[in-house]
């Protein structure tokens, strides 16, 4: 076995299980006497429920129960809570309309759950759900952002005027206005961020169980954060104290944000299990996923940059409409505010920034965080705007970026939009990416492509993001209703093997490997003697889960802290055993040694002494070797870097082919380069999906037109180029590992790189901006429209 510590490309311990079909997912779990739930969902975007006739469904074979919103109300079941409260410009709180688990008076989006049928088999439950007769009175509806805020638009919630959830702002408006007044040039861009449907490989599932002897509830669920689900569902929805509620998130097949939130089905199966005293399972069909998993993005924005004569950015003004969908999902309100507007400084030293965000209700599936959450929206806006500025000022786009970069000696750098960057070197990642992508040789490749009748373009994006969320006090002051620390418990067993209980949750990220490498490095324990346990509220003291690229920066730091405590205690035990002063005992490579002597004790000897305390300082120290630590980050972490895309467009068909993609990222210290590369590649694949392929399409009324894989284009292997991944790291200055995070950078940096390349390829056709996704018919129309102009020149 070679080097396996921090920095080694260790093969993923979990992959044998996953690749050989032996993962254990929620739907693989079955309990004796289990029943199956099928949910009848709204087939229309907006309607009043005049009545639900359950008689035929109840009489259907195998049916154990039929429940509606009225039944839940009778049991005093609460609505699904929102975890974040944003305040309006005037200081008043956002509109927070009720989010019933099962619809009560109205349905507000296609897919809104109306009733649940519970039966002996899945098919019987579905048969009976079809037999429900729902008497609807259709209401006018809207799905588009601009339509929803237009005067006289139908109201999604009768009590929310103008469908406005909040009207929020950040930054110094007066300073920005003044800068615009003295600017030499102003460049303005209207742009949209397309709506996406996450589509994790494993559809959501939930299994509720109830033990009538103990009164204990168990929920097995496809979640990225089981403790958060226990907290939200226990406290706000079902009123079950933590000691009677266990939430288990076993192997989870991808999340990308969509499995963070507390969903109706989790509450339904848990509540129903208690009522029926039988386990109840629900597993989403793929088509159900399309209309019930939270969607991502969906912004409409206007951005304006004030410039001086040399192309220096003087001020940025942004106004954004963000779609919340029909209800507030768990983290929805914070995504277009604190995860978006605060990122609009990017890598640039723009001295004044003002951002207004209006969050809007529409008759569509709730929208929440999706891989990148807010930062892809900010990066796309900024990096498209910078390219347009370059075009309109005649300044080379790379030079323009360099000219406005935050300098290496400016850290810590305070932005005008709240964040303080601790470290970075944007020139280093840019230079490295330009070199790897052979940017200098592009003109030749473009000419060669032109000779073949193809339009070739190159696009650069220099981005920054904030992750490792988050300092609890800071986010608390911004409206978070939870802390965002992480917890780790390190248990050194008597013979020296180690179990780590982490509040982070792995749903594809490879924690079982990365975290084991941390333990291996710090405690010197062999990789196969380390076990990582996650996803069970009965085993792990507490946890805030995995999202926002926080697992290593926050969860890993908690482990380091817990291991520090283990070592501190171990040194005291070792000092006793070796009859030395504690201060003279050092710990390195798994051994406690006495400085200046050849005395040494292995960790396993110390742990044995701790559990078999015959010769032990029992007066001063408790037996055992197990420590828990909570780590609350001091700041966000700020990964950044440069992505370069090279594309070729077939002018006859409008088809774009991504020829090359280069990502050079600063993710801080790299624990496992292979896993970093995999994370970046996956993120870039999703970014290319957003830029070229994916679009959740609603008609004006709110019918979902792209409701299946037949119509929603997920990126596939043959849509993707060879993705070259590199890292150029500066260390995070405020966490013990120096890590920043790599889970989302790929999805954040890539869409504007692709779109800048597409616009570059079509430069001769008089195009200034193209909305995502850049589909073939869209580009073909642009090319058609541009041809006469080209011919005239």
């Amino acid at each position: 076995m070679g080097f396996e510590g921090i920095g080694a490309a260790v093969r993923r311990k979990e992959d044998l299980r996953f690749l050989s079909g032996r993962g254990h997912y929620t739907d693989d779990i079955n309990r004796p006497g289990q029943l199956y739930a099928s949910i009848r969902r709204a087939d229309r975007p907006h309607a009043r429920i005049k009545g639900i006739d359950t008689a035929a469904a109840k009489a259907s074979p195998g049916v154990a129960a039929v429940f509606t919103g009225a039944d839940m109300a009778a049991d005093n079941i609460g609505g699904l809570p929102c975890g974040w409260q944003i305040h309006n410009k005037d200081g008043s709180p956002m509109a927070e309309p009720p989010h019933p688990v099962l619809a009560v008076d109205k349905v507000r989006h296609v897919g809104d759950p109306v009733a649940v049928v519970i039966a002996a088999t899945r098919q019987q439950a579905k048969d009976a759900a079809e037999a429900l007769v729902i008497d609807y009175e259709d209401l006018p509806s809207i799905a588009g952002l601009r339509d929803a805020i237009a005067p006289g638009a139908p109201l999604v919630h009768d009590e929310v005027a103008g469908n406005l959830c909040y009207d929020w702002h950040i930054g110094d408006k007066a300073l920005v206005d003044a800068a615009f007044a003295r600017a030499t040039k102003v460049v303005k861009l209207d742009l949209e961020n397309n709506r996406l449907i996450p589509n994790a490989m494993e559809p959501r599932a939930a299994l509720g169980d109830f033990d009538s002897m103990s009164g204990d509830y168990t929920l097995f669920t496809t979640s990225q954060n089981p403790h958060v689900i226990r907290l939200l569902m226990g406290a706000f929805v079902l009123h079950i104290p933590e000691n009677h509620l266990r939430v288990v998130a076993p192997d989870v097949g991808g999340g990308f944000g969509s499995k963070i939130y507390h969903y109706a089905e989790e509450a339904i199966v848990t509540w129903a299990a208690g009522k029926l005293k039988r386990p109840v399972k629900w597993t989403a069909d793929r088509s159900e996923s399309f209309m019930s998993d939270a969607h991502g993005r969906d912004h409409v924005s206007t951005a304006e940059m004030a410039l001086d004569a040399d192309g220096h950015f003087l001020a940025l003004r942004v106004s954004t409409l963000a779609n919340m969908g029909a209800y507030l999902s768990t983290f929805a309100p914070c995504v277009p505010t604190y995860l978006y507007a605060t990122l609009l400084a990017g890598v640039y030293k723009t001295p004044a920034i003002y951002v207004e965000v209006k969050a809007v209700f529409t008759n569509s599936v709730p929208v929440d965080a999706y891989r990148g959450a807010g930062r892809p929206e900010a990066t796309y806006l900024l990096e498209r705007l910078v390219d347009v500025i370059a075009r309109e000022t005649g300044i080379d786009r790379v030079e323009l970026r360099r000219r406005n970069f935050i300098a290496n000696d400016a850290f810590p750098y305070q932005t005008p939009v709240a964040l303080q960057y601790d470290s970075g070197d944007y020139t280093a990642t840019l230079n490295a990416a330009l070199k790897v992508a052979d940017y200098a040789g592009f003109a030749q490749r473009r000419a060669a492509a032109a000779a073949r009748g193809k339009l070739r373009g190159i696009g650069v994006s220099t981005y920054l993001e904030a992750c490792g969320i988050a300092p609890s006090a800071v986010v608390g002051s911004l409206g978070a209703r939870a802390g965002l620390y992480e917890c780790a418990n390190i248990r050194v067993h008597p013979t020296g093997s180690v179990t780590v209980f982490t509040g982070s949750h792995s749903h594809g990220q490879g924690h079982e490997t990365t975290f084991a490498q941390l333990v291996h490095s710090q405690l010197g324990v062999a990789m196969d003697q380390i076990e990582i346990v996650h996803g069970d509220t009965d085993k792990i003291p507490f946890g805030m889960g995995t999202y926002g690229s926080r697992s290593l920066a926050v969860g890993g730091s908690a482990m380091v802290k817990a291991m520090d405590k283990v070592i501190a205690k171990g040194r005291k035990i070792a000092a006793h055993l070796m009859e030395a002063a504690v201060d003279d005992v050092e710990f390195k490579d798994g051994k406690f040694t006495v400085a200046g002597t050849d005395k040494s004790r292995a960790l396993a000897e110390i742990s044995l002494a701790a559990y078999v305390p015959h010769n032990y300082p029992i007066e001063e120290l408790e037996p055992g070797l197990e420590e828990t630590a909570f780590y609350d980050p001091k700041n966000f972490t700020y990964p950044g870097g440069c992505h370069i895309a090279e594309v070729e467009i077939d002018p006859e068909t409008g088809v774009t082919t991504v020829i090359n993609f280069t990502a050079v990222d600063d993710v801080g210290r790299v624990i496992n380069p292979m896993i970093v590369e995999g994370q970046v590649q996956g993120g870039v694949a999703q970014g290319i999906g957003q830029a070229l392929l994916e679009a959740a399409i609603y008609d004006k009324s709110g019918q979902l037109l792209s409701g299946s894989m037949m119509d929603y284009t997920m990126p596939r292997a043959d849509n993707l180029p060879n993705i070259t991944v590199g890292t150029e790291s500066t260390l995070c200055t405020h966490n013990p590992l120096g890590v920043k995070g790599c889970g989302e950078v790929g999805a954040i940096g890539s869409p504007p790189a692709i779109m800048n390349a597409v616009v570059d390829a079509l430069a001769d056709y008089g195009v200034r901006h193209i909305e995502m996704p850049a589909t073939a018919p869209k580009l073909w129309s642009i090319i058609q429209a541009g041809r006469p102009r080209l011919a005239a020149e």
Partner: protein, 264 residues
């Protein structure tokens, strides 16, 4: 999926009898169309009659033609040395259908019987002038396709085999729907003893159709240039979230020219 009875007859006659005995009975071949429809509860057959054991799979090369049994999978056609030799464009077309898994289940009989307006085989059958043999008769491709998801087949009539005349030149160009990977436009160009034919799938409101204007131009001069100015009217073409009818009309021209240029 609703409950249904399942039968697996061991010969064609029994399969036909089973279908004839019950108007709600449905044949299943590869199941690549039928099973998704059942899973979505869009169809409720009383009996599903599986054709797997009816002995309808196999490829034979005759003098100037290729005959493919109804139960032959797309993968078998794609990999057949005979098909590759006699009508390479047909083997290539089969290799473009769906993905590897679909090609190993889906069958030519199922595809033709289903007549999906975006399916690939109908273009080959129509352009090559195939003859579709059923349990009752032989049907010319021109008479077989009767509009979207509609064919000349009667409820208890099964396709048994399809005979494709050899082509001196043929090629199929497919512009895929990026999501489903079916054809947004597919154009099959064939020059056979019977003349030049151009069949278009994916685009027509009535399913696969012959492009007679292109056929006329190519009959005089089999070259891409000959059809460069042939305009395809968009009026009778499909428009949806993936492609407008105008875009489809344009793509028909592009795909046809590419097919002619590549025809071998």
């Amino acid at each position: 999926m609703y409950d249904f009875a399942y039968q697996k007859p061991s010969n064609v006659a029994d399969a036909v009898a089973a279908l004839g005995a019950d108007p709600e009975a449905k044949a299943v071949a590869g199941g690549m169309t039928l099973i998704p429809v059942l899973k979505q509860r869009l169809n409720r057959p009383s009996v599903v009659v599986d054709l797997a054991k009816t002995g309808l799979a196999g490829i034979t090369a005759g003098a100037g033609s290729i005959t493919i049994g109804a139960m032959t999978t797309h993968a078998a056609v794609a990999h057949s040395a005979d098909v590759q030799r006699v009508i390479p464009a047909l083997a290539a077309l089969a290799g473009l259908i769906g993905d590897e898994q679909v090609r190993h289940r889906g069958t030519i009989g199922g595809s033709l019987a289903n007549n999906d307006p975006a399916a690939d085989y109908p273009a080959a059958a129509l352009a090559l002038g195939a003859t579709i043999t059923t349990t009752k008769r032989a049907i010319k491709a021109d008479d077989f396709f009767q509009g979207m998801f509609t064919t000349a087949l009667e409820p208890d009539e099964l396709i048994t085999k399809v005979e494709f005349p050899a082509a001196t030149k043929a090629n199929y160009q497919k512009f895929r729907n990026p999501a489903s990977r079916y054809a947004i436009v597919g154009v099959f160009v064939a020059q056979t003893a019977a003349g030049v034919r151009v069949a278009v799938t994916g685009a027509g409101q009535g399913g696969v159709f012959r492009h007679t204007a292109m056929e006329a131009a190519l009959s005089k001069n089999f070259s891409a240039d000959a059809i460069a100015d042939v305009v395809t009217p968009a009026d009778d073409l499909n428009g949806d979230i993936h492609a407008s009818s105008e875009y489809r009309a344009h793509l028909i021209g592009v795909m046809a020219r590419r097919a002619v240029a590549a025809a071998a």
